[in-house]
Symmetry: D3
Subunit: 227 residues, 6 copies
Amino acid sequence: MFELGVVRRNITRADRTAADALAQYGSATVHEAMGRVGLMQPCMRPIQAGAQVSGTAVTVLLQPGDNWMLHVAAEQIREGDVVVAAVTSPCTDGYFGDLLATSFMARGARALVIDAGVRDVKALQQMGFAVWCRAISSKGTIKATLGSVNVPVVCAGMLVTPGDVIVADDDGVVVVPAAQAVATAEAAARREANEADKRARLAAGVLGLDMYKMREPLEKAGLRYID
Amino acid sequence: MFELGVVRRNITRADRTAADALAQYGSATVHEAMGRVGLMQPCMRPIQAGAQVSGTAVTVLLQPGDNWMLHVAAEQIREGDVVVAAVTSPCTDGYFGDLLATSFMARGARALVIDAGVRDVKALQQMGFAVWCRAISSKGTIKATLGSVNVPVVCAGMLVTPGDVIVADDDGVVVVPAAQAVATAEAAARREANEADKRARLAAGVLGLDMYKMREPLEKAGLRYID
Amino acid sequence: MFELGVVRRNITRADRTAADALAQYGSATVHEAMGRVGLMQPCMRPIQAGAQVSGTAVTVLLQPGDNWMLHVAAEQIREGDVVVAAVTSPCTDGYFGDLLATSFMARGARALVIDAGVRDVKALQQMGFAVWCRAISSKGTIKATLGSVNVPVVCAGMLVTPGDVIVADDDGVVVVPAAQAVATAEAAARREANEADKRARLAAGVLGLDMYKMREPLEKAGLRYID
Amino acid sequence: MFELGVVRRNITRADRTAADALAQYGSATVHEAMGRVGLMQPCMRPIQAGAQVSGTAVTVLLQPGDNWMLHVAAEQIREGDVVVAAVTSPCTDGYFGDLLATSFMARGARALVIDAGVRDVKALQQMGFAVWCRAISSKGTIKATLGSVNVPVVCAGMLVTPGDVIVADDDGVVVVPAAQAVATAEAAARREANEADKRARLAAGVLGLDMYKMREPLEKAGLRYID
Amino acid sequence: MFELGVVRRNITRADRTAADALAQYGSATVHEAMGRVGLMQPCMRPIQAGAQVSGTAVTVLLQPGDNWMLHVAAEQIREGDVVVAAVTSPCTDGYFGDLLATSFMARGARALVIDAGVRDVKALQQMGFAVWCRAISSKGTIKATLGSVNVPVVCAGMLVTPGDVIVADDDGVVVVPAAQAVATAEAAARREANEADKRARLAAGVLGLDMYKMREPLEKAGLRYID
Amino acid sequence: MFELGVVRRNITRADRTAADALAQYGSATVHEAMGRVGLMQPCMRPIQAGAQVSGTAVTVLLQPGDNWMLHVAAEQIREGDVVVAAVTSPCTDGYFGDLLATSFMARGARALVIDAGVRDVKALQQMGFAVWCRAISSKGTIKATLGSVNVPVVCAGMLVTPGDVIVADDDGVVVVPAAQAVATAEAAARREANEADKRARLAAGVLGLDMYKMREPLEKAGLRYID
């Protein structure tokens, strides 16, 4: 947020196995596994239904109406990365379309998460390039002012440091700091193992009130039943 | 809105036949049949395309970031109910996911209408549990503060009394007071019978101007045609 | 915007061949071909995925909560038109549904672009009538106050003069003044021809940095690479 | 919300002494005294700084862009009333200006709370007529469609029954059901008596951590201090 | 909206006497005098309370995050003008501050109306330079891309042609086409003359129901009084 | 953003002289002096006009509808601090009122910057405690869930590290990293020295076009003047 005109070439990406494994748990489970933190704001929506990805963050700081740094970022992408783009002020312009997506895919990117707009969404869906964004807009951008690549950025209310793991699905986008990736993958796995059994019992008609032993704390809190 | 810490067990549900029948007409026709009232605000959107349901309301009043009362509400659900949840202040957190949906379905609920966020939307779609909500968010909630179940609530700008009929589809959500359910179903049926003929004439090229005899009132209102 | 109670019967529609040809390029390419102008605000969203249309504008100026003039407009529609509707103050009511769509289709309209709400969206999708709008709402409207048909209107922030070409797709809606339709179609065709080659090179791994010769201007602007 | 075309002439107003007394406590204290319920949404803002009023509600249900029922409501106003107006769908038009305010003041109204727009705000401020609203807009309205007067309405997310007490100040607007007015006034008085002492201790440098005995529960919840 | 890179030097300003006279009536009366048209959206708010101005429009079309054309516009300002600025896509950056205001005042401008953000608002208030805007933001802008001066623009949803009259006050901003300025000033004067008498009668307790003879049409519309 | 349940007692505050000096320049100049970065989003508005403060950040991470950690933060405040509070999900509740303000003032705090709501705004204004916030709301909060104090937080889109300098005025809020405080104060001083001369020349009628030597680059960019 505070450094313009800089491209960091060497970043420390999170553990690859953990970064790849986190996709399967989805954003809700991962965010719970971290202690209910790390979510971007819910204004970030997928342009496609059903995509569920994780990867290591290459970050981009853009200027309003200017997508120059996305071209600079392409060169820094490695297989398994997710590009995360923020803008220095609120903007809904279409910073990204099918040409940049072609380039990003050729470089190995799995997705784009951008706190702004994108365009060519039909083509992007057909190409299978996943995008989470704040807006869809045909509005083109210029290439005039420097931002940065691979500096810490705030995207949709959440800090993203280059190399962090991004997990995104239909529910939203969560950021896992690189140092917590392995532990979070383990915690998410435990959490999910736990859920299958709960689901079966609830499906059989057991009430959460009983399964979670809520009746006593509810009574203690003063809940009154009236006929 | 004014009563916290209360669960009403016995509520008077609207006439079952009428409550079931209203789904087929959809929210627009039902709202017209009631005299153009009863709609929730258009910010309430379905998480799935094409679902069209009606049922009797079990209401829930939630606290911000706290979904405790949804678990309490599950026990009050009967076959054919639609759960309607409001929050005491604006909140987009994900109060509801696949585990609660499993429990609600097991209890016979047809849908959830919630003036807040939900998560696990892909799973919810696969399970076929219909949801109308204000937001989609992975953000988890706590279980710390009492709200109420089966008290009157305001959901997305509309009063819902327990037992009222809820009709929801791709166009939105409408509330039919229990006492008006039968009359509204009849009025909706009449309205729809009327529309097939109109549709055929319009498809044949007849103008609404002529079919609805609008030319005279338009002229009286001063409409001028210019070449 | 300034003339109420008027219907203009004879309008000069843009060149038909150009108006029809513009659809294939989509809103992003057309807006770029015009010099990056002409877009409506991104709040205008399609109710269906994948539709891509162009046509000549029949304009409508509506009053809040009143759809009378849409019926008046139907008579002015010719084959190949797109109806563009604005309201004199912000309103999300459902001005348009399946009956009006039936009439508009019978008259030859290709789509509706409305800076307000529509309803019966499932039926509209099934009929294949394309709509771009600001909201979806069951709320019905009245027929009490005059607006105008075929006067210049501002729709979602953009001026539309009757006869202009409207190009709409998943990315948004762009307005091409009638006098610029032919030149814009030519410019769009040139632009698109140009893109196939670029796409192939990017897919082969060529960087935009090199293809667009950006390295030198970036260095001149002061971009620093850090290891 | 469900009844159009009706004016109820005889309503049961809350206890006058309690209704008058509640103003002095302000919306925050009154809402706390009721158990933290009853607030309208924070989009309701005063057009003047510093006004703090309470009174008994005369309710109005309006149609979009139509202020006819405000004229009907004027006749139902008695000394000490606050007019509360809702619209059947979201609308920001200017339903109310200096002429209506002159009439309302002559009838004894203390304020207007309207979930829509007002105009002539400079004149309203000079006249000393207090208004809480969602928008300020010059947009005029028509007089064509019936709404209702003195039926229950939902205003900015909160149910208002005719005769309820409205308390409004710079912090927002709270609704006190008529039957709870006396008890709420007493609870508010106790609450406020309690605050003077707290304020003095905090001003003297005592920490809330100690005054409210929070250190132990915080420790129990797991709070860790790091140097 | 459609022409970039152009400065029109000679524009036809509205009749000076009418343009000056319109300020006294305010935006609500002027908009009514025009037949209830011409208003910008209510998101346009003054940065100062109580200012009430009118003047002839010098228009500016800006690019997102770029205020270059405001400097170009300064040269085109004449005594009695109001600068009206639009942006090619939604943007809240601070395009305008005390230095530009100093220059605009030196050139004779009476106000700025901008569909974007401004900064230095305390200084602007102290200088007495009136501004209506969509946002307040410290965010600075660049000078890199051409827009236009004195082309038709859409500002906050309303078309403004260079030379039109702008009337702005606490209630909002209205645009009067140059050709209608004289007639509008006359209509506004008549309207206002009419209001003093009405105000006196309403203040004396006469009801609008009687003064406007509404009882009969209300009864005809079906209004029912209930005791 | 990623650490809950932690209070850091020892933080490195920015240089005191620089932290104090930055207030005089205001948020716009400071943000420019940093290279046009560091601003919070423009939704952050002051509850009082004219306040202009700077100070060192004590940060707080809050849970939705829960202000417990503001009490914990009070103990960490030192003379010259500004408390900066973020919430883990969007929330407009009134987390802060006159009692907490009394305590914060007693501890030496200069202001509160909170990405949520506050209440008792009239009292806060009378006490002279400056607040920048996203909303004003009477809605009370609970004390049930841990957040953190003095961890890095994202407030209104900007990263704030404990000890950073906060500069806030009518134009908005800017964050200066502690390590850049001295250099930024110097750059801001140079920038301001520079402005007095410019202001005088503009007031004398010199055009920015000439003063900034813009005519040539504008011509090169293709600007055309038309009579």
